[in-house]
C-alpha cells in the first residue's frame, strides 16, 4: 500500500473511532435507561410516588404498627438520600405513603422500587408484602438491586391506603429510597426485569469479562514482558473486576465498612496501575510521576484503613477526584501520541480508554447527585470495550511474533539448505579429487609396470643388439617377453584381479604355451583359499612377478622338465602357502642381466610383506621356493 493511502485510511479510522466514542459517551450520559421514570403505559395506568413522610429510628425492633402511631415524621421528596436529608444517620428509615385509588386506573397488585439502599421491606395497610434478607446487623447488600413485590389487590381499599417502606442503611453509604411505583404487575414486571438486567446481570457479565481478560493479559504480558507495561494493565483490570463484584454480590467477605474501605482503595490502585500502563505504553520516562502514582495508591489505601470505618467514606469523592484529570490528560496524550505515530493500535486503545474515563465521570456525577440516584451505573460496562481492545492488541502482537518466528524459521531453513548444497558441492569436489588421485595413482602404477617390465626388456635387448646382432630366436624371445609383461600389466587391471587363484590361473594360461614349447610339464595343484585382505592390485602384481621370475629361472637356467605349483591354506598360521619347485639344476646365486635373481625376488617379497624361502627340490634336485602370504596384509 502507498504511504499516502495508508495515511488517509488512518485518518479516516481515527475520525470514525473519535465519533463513535463521543456518541457512545453522550448516549450513555443522556440516554441511559432511567427506570424510575417508568414508561408510557405505566405512567398512564400506575401510581408514581415521589413524596413520603419519613421516620428515622435507630431501634431495629420497631414494629410497623408502632411506626404508624408515632408522630414526628417529616415530609421528603423522593429520591431521598440520607447523606443529604439525614447526615450521619445509620439505622432504619420508615417511609409512609398514604394514597387513594383512581377509579380510571386498573387495581394495582405490584410494587416496584428501582433503588432502595441498602435493603428494604414493604408493608401495605399493615400487611407485609415483600423483602429479602436482613435489615439488622449486617444488612443484606441490595444497594444496586431493583425490587418488585406482588400482593393481593384485596388488601387495598378505595380511599385510605397506607404503604410503609422500611429501609435499612449505613451512614456515608448513599443510603436512601428512590421513587416508588405501584401498578398492575404485568406493566411493572418488564420495567423490573430490564432494571435487573442493567444493574445486576449485566454487571455480573461485565465483571466476568474483565476477570477473563485480566487473566489473559497477565499471561500474555509475560510474553511481552519488556514491552509497554501490559503487566500493569493486567493488574489494573483484575483490580477493576474485583471492585465490580460489589455491583451484584449481596454479601461481602468483609464487614461492610471494611469492604467499603477496600473498594475505595481499589479505585486508587486501578487509577495508579492504569496510569502507569499509559505512561509505559507511550514510552515516557516520567520517573517522578510514576513514583507519585505509587505514593497515591499506597497513601489512599493506608488512609482509608487508618481513618476508621465510616468517616473516610465521605471523602471518597474528594480522594478520587484529583486522579481523574490525571487519567484524562494521559488519555488525551495517548490519542495525540497515536495520531502522531499513525498508530491504529494506540488510537483504539486511546478511544476505548477515553470512553471509559468519560463514563466514569458520568458515574461520578451520580455519586455527586448531579444525576438521579436511580440512574444505571455504566462504568463497569465501558471497561469491557477497553479490555477487549487490549486483548485484541495483544493477540495481534502475538500473531506478529509468530509470523516473525515463521519468517526467521524459513530464512533459517533456506540458509540450512544453502549450507547443505555447499557441503554437497564440497563433498562432490572432494570425491572428484579423490577419484582423480586414484586415477593418478593407477596411471603411475601402470607407468611403473611398463618401465620395469616392457621398458627394461626392450632396453636390455637393445643393449645386447649393440654388442652383437640378435638372431631370430632371441628376437622372438624378447618380443614375447615384452608381450607377456604387457599382458600381465593388463591382467592386473582386471576387476577380479584380487583373486589370487584366478590371477595365478591366468598366469598359467598365458605361460602354458611357452612351457609346452620347452617341453616342460606343469603340475597344478590348488585348493580353495580364503580371500586375501588388504593387498592392492599392485601387491598382487608384484607377487605375480616373483612367480614369473621363478618360472623364467626354471625354464632358462635350471633346464627343468617338470615344474610343480601348489597353493594351500594354512589355517593355523592364517597364511596362504604358495610353493613352486622344479627338477632342474638349481638357481644361480646371482643372475646378471636384468637384475633378476633370488636377492631381487626377496626384496620384492619384503616390499609386499610376504615371506620367501628357498630350498632344494625333491630328491636333492632342482629348486623349491616357498612363499607364505599372510591372509591380512601386514603394514
Amino acid at each position: 500500500m502507498k504511504p499516502a493511502r495508508t495515511d488517509a485510511l488512518f485518518v479516516w479510522r481515527f475520525s470514525l473511532l473519535f465519533m463513535l466514542s463521543l456518541l457512545t459517551a453522550l448516549l450513555g450520559t443522556v440516554n441511559a435507561p432511567l427506570h424510575a421514570l417508568g414508561n408510557e403505559s405505566v405512567r398512564q395506568h400506575g401510581y408514581l410516588f415521589d413524596h413520603a413522610r419519613v421516620l428515622f429510628s435507630s431501634n431495629p425492633n420497631l414494629a410497623p404498627e408502632e411506626v404508624l402511631q408515632r408522630s414526628g415524621k417529616k415530609t421528603v421528596v423522593l429520591p431521598d438520600l440520607w447523606d443529604v436529608s439525614q447526615q450521619d444517620f445509620e439505622g432504619q428509615g420508615w417511609y409512609q405513603i398514604k394514597f387513594g385509588l383512581d377509579p380510571d386506573k386498573p387495581k394495582p397488585d405490584a410494587l416496584f422500587m428501582p433503588k432502595a439502599i441498602m435493603n428494604a421491606h414493604a408493608y401495605l395497610n399493615g400487611h407485609w408484602i415483600g423483602g429479602h434478607g436482613s435489615l439488622h446487623g449486617d444488612v443484606a447488600r441490595h444497594w444496586n438491586h431493583p425490587y418488585l413485590f406482588q400482593f393481593s389487590p384485596d388488601l387495598l381499599n378505595q380511599n385510605n391506603n397506607v404503604l410503609l417502606i422500611q429501609v435499612a442503611g449505613y451512614k456515608n453509604y448513599r443510603s436512601g429510597l428512590g421513587r416508588v411505583w405501584l401498578g398492575p404487575s404485568e406493566l411493572l414486571d418488564p420495567l423490573y426485569t430490564s432494571s435487573y438486567r442493567w444493574q445486576v446481570t449485566g454487571s455480573m457479565l461485565a465483571t466476568l469479562v474483565a476477570f477473563g481478560s485480566g487473566i489473559l493479559l497477565l499471561v500474555f504480558s509475560r510474553v511481552f514482558r519488556e514491552q509497554e507495561g501490559f503487566f500493569f494493565l493486567s493488574l489494573a483490570v483484575i483490580v477493576f473486576a474485583l471492585r465490580n463484584t460489589g455491583y451484584f454480590l449481596n454479601w461481602t467477605p468483609l464487614p461492610h465498612a471494611q469492604w467499603g474501605q477496600l473498594v475505595h482503595s481499589l479505585h486508587a490502585w486501578f487509577a495508579c496501575l492504569y496510569s502507569l500502563f499509559l505512561i509505559q505504553y507511550m514510552g515516557l520516562k516520567w520517573v517522578w510521576i510514576r513514583k507519585a502514582l505509587w505514593v497515591y495508591a499506597i497513601g489512599v489505601t493506608v488512609l482509608s484503613f487508618a481513618a476508621g470505618s465510616q468517616e473516610i467514606l465521605q471523602f471518597t469523592v474528594w480522594l478520587l477526584l484529583p486522579i481523574v484529570p490525571v487519567v484524562f490528560i494521559l488519555n488525551v496524550m495517548l490519542l495525540a501520541h497515536s495520531w502522531q505515530h499513525r498508530n491504529l493500535e494506540g488510537a483504539i486503545l486511546g478511544f476505548s480508554s477515553m470512553l471509559f474515563v468519560l463514563l466514569s465521570i458520568r458515574d461520578l456525577a451520580i455519586m455527586l447527585n448531579v444525576l438521579p440516584v436511580e440512574s444505571v451505573l455504566l462504568s463497569q460496562y465501558t471497561g469491557i470495550l477497553l479490555f477487549v481492545s487490549t486483548c485484541w492488541i495483544i493477540f495481534r502482537r502475538y500473531k506478529a511474533l509468530f509470523e516473525d518466528l515463521e519468517t526467521s524459521n524459513e530464512s533459517l531453513n533456506s540458509e540450512l539448505a544453502q549450507r547443505e548444497q555447499q557441503l554437497f558441492r564440497q563433498f562432490n569436489l572432494l570425491r572428484k579429487i579423490e577419484q582423480q588421485r586414484t586415477q593418478d595413482d593407477e596411471r603411475r602404477r601402470i607407468m611403473q609396470d611398463i618401465h620395469d617390465g616392457v621398458g627394461s626388456s626392450l632396453v636390455s635387448a637393445l643393449n645386447l643388439s649393440e654388442t652383437r646382432p640378435l638372431d631370430q630366436e632371441e628376437m622372438r624371445n624378447v618380443l614375447q617377453e615384452c608381450l607377456d609383461d604387457l599382458r600381465m600389466a593388463i591382467d592386473s587391471l582386471d576387476p577380479q584381479s584380487d583373486d589370487l587363484l584366478a590371477l595365478l590361473g591366468n598366469f598359467r594360461w598365458r605361460y602354458e604355451r611357452r612351457l609346452k614349447a620347452s617341453g616342460v610339464t606343469l603340475l597344478w595343484s590348488v585348493a580353495d583359499i580364503p580371500k586375501l585382505e588388504g593387498y592392492s592390485s599392485r601387491d598382487l602384481f608384484d607377487l605375480l612377478r616373483i612367480v614369473q621370475e621363478i618360472f623364467a629361472n626354471s625354464l632358462k637356467h635350471a633346464k627343468a622338465s617338470k615344474i610343480e605349483l601348489s597353493v594351500r591354506w594354512d589355517q593355523a598360521n592364517d597364511k596362504v602357502l604358495l610353493n613352486i619347485s622344479d627338477d632342474g639344476i638349481g638357481m644361480p646365486a646371482n643372475t646378471l642381466g636384468r637384475g633378476r635373481g633370488l636377492a631381487h625376488m626377496k626384496i620384492r617379497a619384503k616390499a609386499i610383506r610376504v615371506e620367501l624361502y628357498t630350498g632344494g627340490g625333491r630328491d636333492e634336485r632342482g629348486v623349491a621356493v616357498f612363499i607364505a602370504i599372510p591372509r591380512m596384509r601386514r603394514r
Binding site: 599382458r487 582386471d494 590371477l503 590361473g505 591366468n506 598366469f507 594360461w509 604355451r513 597344478w524
Partner: protein
C-alpha cells in the same frame, strides 16, 4: 585343444569370414586360414558396412571380428549376427584378451576370442574348436563370469517376486551345476584336459560347457536390462 576331440564326421571345410581393418593382421590371418585345407575363407571386410554387405551374400560358420573398426565397433556386427544369423559363431580378434574387450563381446553374443600372437596352428585349432561347439576361456574371464552368476543368484534370493515375473527368461539363462563346476575349475587355473580328467568327461564336453555359459551370458545380458529396470521400478514402489 586336441584335434582328436573334434567331430570325426566333420569333413567339409569350415566357412570363415574375416572382419579386420589392420592390413598386417589381415594379411597374416588370410595366410593362416588359406593354409588350412579344413578352413575356407568366404570373404574379407575392413569396415562394419563391408561386413554387412559380405554377410548379405554369405553365411559363414565362423566370423573373425576385430572390435576397433574405422566406421563403428565390431560389437555391432556381433550383435547383428547373433540376432540374424545365430548359426554363425563369432570370434573376437584381440591383442590381449583383456576383460574389457572379451566380456563385452561375449555379452554381445560372441563365442570366444583369438589372440593375435597365437601360433598359426593354434589359430587354426581355435577356429575349428569353436566351429565344433567348443570355446576356450581364461581364468580371469571365468572369474568374471562366476562373479556375474553369483551376483545374479544373490539378486534372485533377495527379490523372489521379481524372479517369478522373469522366470521364462531365467530358464534360458540358468547355469547348470556341471557348467558351474567347469567354470569354477577354469577360474582356479585348471586346463580343459585337467577338468575333463577330474570330472570324467571329454575335453570336448568341457569346451561345450564353456561355450554354453557364453551363450547364456549373452541371453542374460539381454534380459539384464529388463531385469534391472524392474528392479528399479520395484525400488520406486
Amino acid at each position: 585343444m586336441n584335434p582328436r576331440d573334434l567331430d570325426p564326421f566333420e569333413s567339409k571345410p569350415v566357412g570363415v569370414i574375416l572382419v579386420e581393418d589392420e592390413p598386417t593382421t589381415q594379411d597374416h590371418l588370410i595366410r593362416v586360414i588359406e593354409s588350412s585345407p579344413r578352413l575356407k575363407l568366404l570373404g574379407v571386410a575392413s569396415t562394419v558396412q563391408d561386413a554387412y554387405a559380405l554377410l548379405f551374400m554369405t553365411t559363414p560358420k565362423v566370423a573373425l571380428i576385430d572390435l576397433g573398426l574405422p566406421d563403428s565397433s565390431g560389437i555391432e556386427v556381433i550383435e547383428w549376427l547373433s540376432k540374424n544369423k545365430p548359426e554363425t559363431e563369432c570370434l573376437v580378434i584381440t591383442a590381449f584378451g583383456d576383460e574389457d574387450h572379451v566380456v563385452r563381446s561375449l555379452e554381445a553374443g560372441a563365442s570366444g576370442y583369438l589372440l593375435k600372437d597365437y601360433f598359426n596352428n593354434e589359430l587354426i585349432e581355435h577356429i575349428l574348436e569353436v566351429a565344433n561347439g567348443g570355446s576356450p576361456i581364461s581364468p580371469l574371464i571365468a572369474r568374471q563370469l562366476l562373479f556375474k552368476i553369483q551376483h545374479e543368484k544373490l539378486m534372485e534370493n533377495l527379490h523372489l517376486q521379481v524372479k517369478a515375473d522373469l522366470d521364462e527368461t531365467r530358464k534360458a539363462s540358468n547355469i547348470t551345476d556341471r557348467e558351474l563346476t567347469v567354470i569354477q575349475q577354469v577360474a582356479r587355473g585348471f586346463t580343459a584336459q585337467e577338468i575333463a580328467g577330474q570330472m570324467g568327461i571329454s575335453t570336448h564336453t568341457v569346451a561345450t560347457h564353456v561355450k554354453r555359459i557364453y551363450k547364456k551370458l549373452h541371453v542374460h545380458s539381454r534380459s539384464e536390462a529388463v531385469y534391472e529396470a524392474t528392479m528399479l521400478g520395484l525400488l520406486d514402489l
